[in-house]
């Protein structure tokens, strides 16, 4: 079925109610207004499928002090930000989403970017208050803010905590100055450690990111760095292999053969294996491809993505997944910050909405959930509209030590997590 894009403005009624209100059809029943002839009717149980993953709020702050050469996120360097306008626009975006998702509570909220630690604490407070007002938080809700580990930003940590933030995720990236410079970071290692100490003093839950398989990095060097990181770590670590993303400065250099010293595939694979070994030994096993936590301290917000729950995406370029009247929609906001802000201010459509076909929902659930150590529930995959897995292919992948059955769930092994993209191709392509 072709996706049916429609746009919505802040202040509009929910899309299903336009153009004229009508009684909602029973869940799963054929909808006379839509051409569903070719799509299998979703299982009635699947229409509220998002509950298996939960509901969270993502807020995108697109501004950075400088652009890092490896980063393909929607981030922009801007000298002047009209904080009043941005606060109002983000609140309006949350209000529009709230009208589509009445009667829910937010399990998590996440400020990402860009560099959200450049946000005034008052803006953060206003947005948290807006979520409380619009949906309300579940008890013990997790509110995370991504922060750059600089002294200036650390000075705002108490303000964020007072606003309601209870977890920070710090972009440390490397533990030595030379590599930080190569990654285009503006902070030094000592400054990062100081900022980390401030964060630990303010928040119980502090995560930090490192990037490995960097230029001229050997497995031995990574091992030493990771050991230091594990000594420092509080409850959570995100450890990413450097990826050359299209459209980045690194990609340009790489295309011209000027990004030298990237580790060979075998070395990169060795670094991944070292990461698994050391983190498991330190009591922080991978619960997702690149994420490690002490049991119970996983990022609950990110788990919503990987467990294929619903999430609001507020701010420029933010994506969301919202189940509205039994239909799962992919939402995507205008990407350019100026265009998004202007649209929000003028009350023009700032987002596209596309209904996700049942088999596509199943594919999304599969590719996200297999990233988790807990794996995929085949029954849920089938309920969403996925074709049953080919038993022969599954058996072959199990025999090759790539996938494994854990209770009733299909999961990637440690070896298989390193090969997940290939395993997915094998499984469904």
């Amino acid at each position: 079925m072709p996706p049916e894009p429609f746009a919505i403005r802040p202040g509009d009624a929910p899309p299903a109610a336009r153009p004229a209100p009508r009684p909602s059809a029973p869940e799963g029943a054929p909808d006379p207004d839509r051409n569903r002839a070719t799509a299998p009717a979703p299982d009635p149980g699947a229409t509220e499928d998002w509950r298996a993953g939960g509901f969270g709020i993502y807020v995108h702050w697109p501004f950075c002090k400088s652009k890092c050469p490896y980063c393909d996120f929607n981030s922009h360097v801007s000298a002047h930000v009209d904080h009043d306008a941005w606060r109002q626009a983000l609140i309006a975006d949350l209000e529009a989403a709230a009208r589509l998702t009445p009667g829910r509570r937010a399990r998590t909220m996440f400020f990402g970017g860009g560099t959200p630690s450049l946000m005034p604490p008052a803006t953060v407070a206003a947005l948290i208050d807006a979520v409380e007002r619009l949906w309300g938080f579940e008890p013990g809700a997790e509110i995370t803010l991504e922060a750059n580990p600089t002294s200036v930003e650390a000075a705002a940590f108490r303000g964020y905590a007072a606003a309601g933030v209870n977890r920070v995720s710090m972009g440390v990236q490397a533990l030595n100055d030379a590599d930080l410079r190569a990654l285009g970071r503006t902070h030094g290692a000592a400054e990062a450690m100081a900022a980390f100490d401030v964060a630990r003093a303010v928040f119980r839950r502090v995560s930090f990111d490192l990037i490995y398989a960097r230029q001229n990095q050997t497995p031995q060097a990574w091992e030493a760095e990771l050991r230091r990181a594990l000594d420092l770590a509080a409850d959570h670590l995100s450890l990413y292999q450097l990826t050359i993303e299209p459209g980045t400065r690194f990609a340009q250099l790489h295309a011209r053969g000027r990004l030298r010293g990237l580790p060979a595939d075998d070395d990169a694979a060795r670094m991944y294996e070292l990461t698994q070994e050391l983190c498991e030994a330190a009591g922080m096993p991978a619960y997702e491809i690149s994420n490690h936590a002490r049991p119970g301290d996983e990022s609950r917000h990110n788990l919503i993505y990987w467990r294929y729950g619903d999430y609001v995406g507020a701010g420029p370029g933010a994506h969301g997944r919202l189940t509205v009247e039994g239909r799962r929609l992919a939402t995507e906001n205008l990407r350019a910050p100026g265009a998004w802000l202007e649209a929000m201010r003028a009350g023009r459509p700032a987002a596209s909405f596309e209904e996700i076909a049942p088999e596509d929902q199943a594919a999304e659930y599969l590719l996200m959930s297999l990233r988790l150590a807990e794996g995929t529930d085949p029954a849920r995959h089938a309920r969403l509209g996925g074709r049953p897995f080919d038993p022969e292919r599954v058996a072959r992948l199990v025999e090759q030590g790539v996938l494994t059955w854990r209770a009733e769930r299909l999961a990637a092994t440690r070896k298989g997590r390193a090969l997940l993209d290939a395993a997915l191709r094998e499984l469904v392509a």
Binding site: Q241, T243, Y272, V402, R417, A418, L420, D421, A422
Partner: protein, 599 residues
């Protein structure tokens, strides 16, 4: 019907981009065959078509009426043929249908390799040749130097070359005048029995099979019963006409004239280029010399990537064959690839053209197996089999000897590339027959095994000479050599579609090269894959594709889901272009690319 003395038949020989199409347009325009408006609508379209046809090997023709300075009106027939060594025979037939050629050379670029091969064809056909220097208005034009070059390299008098600019129209009238005054009129006897050459034929959706003919003797009229002398088939002529440039019916075609006929001929296969057409009732005594039935020399298997597409492939091949008599096919079964067809082609370009048309026009993804020539395998029981497919090779203990086809290859090359060309020929088991110079160009003649040439020889030749070599060949017969069948095993399973016949002395090198190539072409899997080359049970080369250890997206959060899903969909589509052998996915292009050698 036009008097012989008022007819001129000619072709244009030129390197690509030297202005052949532009000059043809000017000639059409100047003789008023088309109005200004029609020029845009018709000729340009047909030129586009012709570019498409450049690969379907169809001759284009146009008839022009020209009133010369002597006050007489002449009929000028232009036949335009593309030139490629695979279709050398077709080109030579077109050349035999005319008496003269315009040799168009870019006055700033000079003579190019491609021009040479075609101009020698024209000289062989006994043509009078009028050199034309085009782009004379360009600042870089050096007419004197280029004239000298024409005389040195080609060996014809260029002192009265016509200097023109086809783009601006400058001098084009002088070309028309030169055609009339310098090219000979055709000869022929109106009263003799009909003798006409079948120059080309093609399928037209409205008219059926259209046959392009050159009348040598006699007169052809609508309603005549004609006979094809090679096939002995006879037909009643429905229509005759000329191209001016659209099809115009005429009452009759007489000696020296070029035109078309239709005669309820069902298939293009029933018409043979170079055949002689005569009257059923009053046939001519002798056919025209030089007729050769089309002889496929290269064979390969064509298999659908998706075995469910076999019936679609069958119907596509049948349709294509209706319009291409030189292409043969028969069903083939491969242990690895399932059902497909063993097809015969005039050469590698022809193979690629057919394959591309099947994929493009009929939307079928194909696996092309290793091209092969026809080997004569003499068995110990005294019988001989023609081996088209290495997979059919008998048990070696029952084989007494194997003969392979040899060719005489003629290569013209600027002397700075001569060393590379000689090395290439030696590497391909060539025996040098002759080496002479014409100006700064060398002409080398080699006796080469056809199987060393069919695959990538022409590509290699072009690459080592930067495109400055021209190449032509003819089959000269069969000769015994020490040939063996080499098998390729992927993950310990033989892949019959990769079997090839090789010379024993070159088997190790060839096997190593194929294993190395396959190592590049087959993607890494989650397990390691041995690739081996074997003769009989003996492994002569081996490579291993190491197991994939890491293939995972490091970051995947809420904003990445759609993109990741779409990527997975794309990979699904990509996987359809692979074929599974045991546990290994082999991309379809691997079957042919495995043979490309970078020697």
């Amino acid at each position: 019907m036009t008097e012989l003395s008022k007819i001129r038949n000619f072709s244009i020989v030129a390197h690509i981009d030297h202005g052949k199409s532009t000059l043809a347009d000017r000639l059409i325009q100047l003789t008023g065959a088309l109005s200004e408006r029609e020029m845009k609508e018709q000729v340009l379209d047909s030129m586009e078509l012709e570019r498409e046809r450049g690969i379907t090997i169809k001759a284009n023709t146009v008839r022009l009426n020209y009133t010369a300075q002597d006050g007489e009106t002449y009929v000028l027939n232009l036949i335009d043929t593309p030139g490629h060594v695979d279709f050398a025979y077709e080109v030579s037939r077109s050349m035999r249908a005319v008496e003269g050629s315009l040799l168009v050379v870019d006055a700033s670029q000079g003579v190019e390799a491609q021009t040479l091969a075609n101009v020698y064809q024209a000289i062989d056909a006994g043509h009078e040749i009028v050199p034309v220097l085009n782009k004379i208005d360009l600042p870089a034009a050096e007419p004197e130097r280029v004239k000298e070059q024409i005389e040195d390299v080609i060996g014809i008098d260029a002192s009265d070359a016509v200097e023109i600019s086809a783009k601006t129209g400058l001098g084009v009238d002088k070309v028309l005048e030169a055609i009339v005054t310098r090219l000979p009129a055709p000869k022929g006897d109106r009263d003799a029995p009909l003798k006409a050459m079948l120059v080309d034929s093609w399928y037209d959706a409205y008219l059926g099979v259209v046959v392009l003919v050159r009348i040598v003797d006699g007169v052809l009229k609508k309603g005549d019963r004609i006979r094809m002398m090679s096939t002995k088939a006879s037909y009643a002529v429905d229509r005759i006409g000329v191209f001016s440039p659209s099809m115009q019916p005429v009452e009759e075609l007489g000696p020296g004239e070029i035109g078309f006929l239709t005669a309820s001929i069902k298939q293009v296969r029933d018409t043979r280029v170079g055949d002689t057409i005569t009257h059923e009732k009053r046939p001519c005594a002798e056919p025209l010399p030089g007729f050769k039935p089309a002889q496929p020399v290269v064979f390969c298997g064509l298999f659908p990537v998706d075995s469910n597409d076999f019936e679609d492939l069958r119907s596509a091949i049948e349709k294509l064959a209706l319009n291409d008599a030189s292409f043969t096919y028969e069903m083939e079964t491969s242990a690895a690839l399932g059902f497909g067809f063993r097809c015969g082609f005039l050469g590698l370009l022809h193979l690629e053209v057919v394959r591309e048309r099947l994929e493009r026009e009929f939307d079928i993804d194909l696996i092309t197996t290793a091209p092969s020539v026809i080997y004569h395998v003499y068995k110990t029981d005294g019988t001989m089999i023609e081996l088209h497919n290495p997979a059919d090779m008998p048990d070696p203990v029952k084989v007494a000897r194997i003969e392979e086809p040899r060719i005489k290859a003629t290569i013209l090359v600027p002397d700075e590339y001569l060393g590379d060309v000689l090395k290439l020929c030696q590497d391909r088991r060539g025996i040098q027959l002759d080496l002479t110079y014409a100006g700064s160009r060398a002409m080398v003649v080699y006796d080469l095994p056809l199987n060393e040439v069919v695959f990538d020889f022409y590509d290699r030749l072009k690459s080592v000479t930067k495109g400055y070599a021209s190449f032509d060949y003819q089959l000269i017969g069969y000769r015994e050599d020490n040939l063996v069948k080499m098998q390729i095993l992927v993950n310990d399973e033989p892949v019959d579609a990769l079997s090839t016949m090789v010379h024993r002395a070159r088997a190790e090198a060839r096997g190593r090269a194929m294993c190395e190539k396959l190592k590049e072409l087959i993607p890494q899997h989650m397990f390691k894959i041995p690739i081996q080359a074997a003769i009989g049970g003996r492994i002569i080369a081996r490579e291993t594709i190491s197991a994939l250890r890491k293939d995972v997206t490091a970051k995947c959060y809420g904003g990445d889901v759609t993109r990741k899903r779409k990527l997975l969909e794309k990979q699904k589509a990509g996987k359809k272009r692979m074929r599974q052998f045991g546990k290994v996915d082999i991309p379809q292009e691997a079957f042919i690319n495995a043979l490309k050698m970078d020697d």
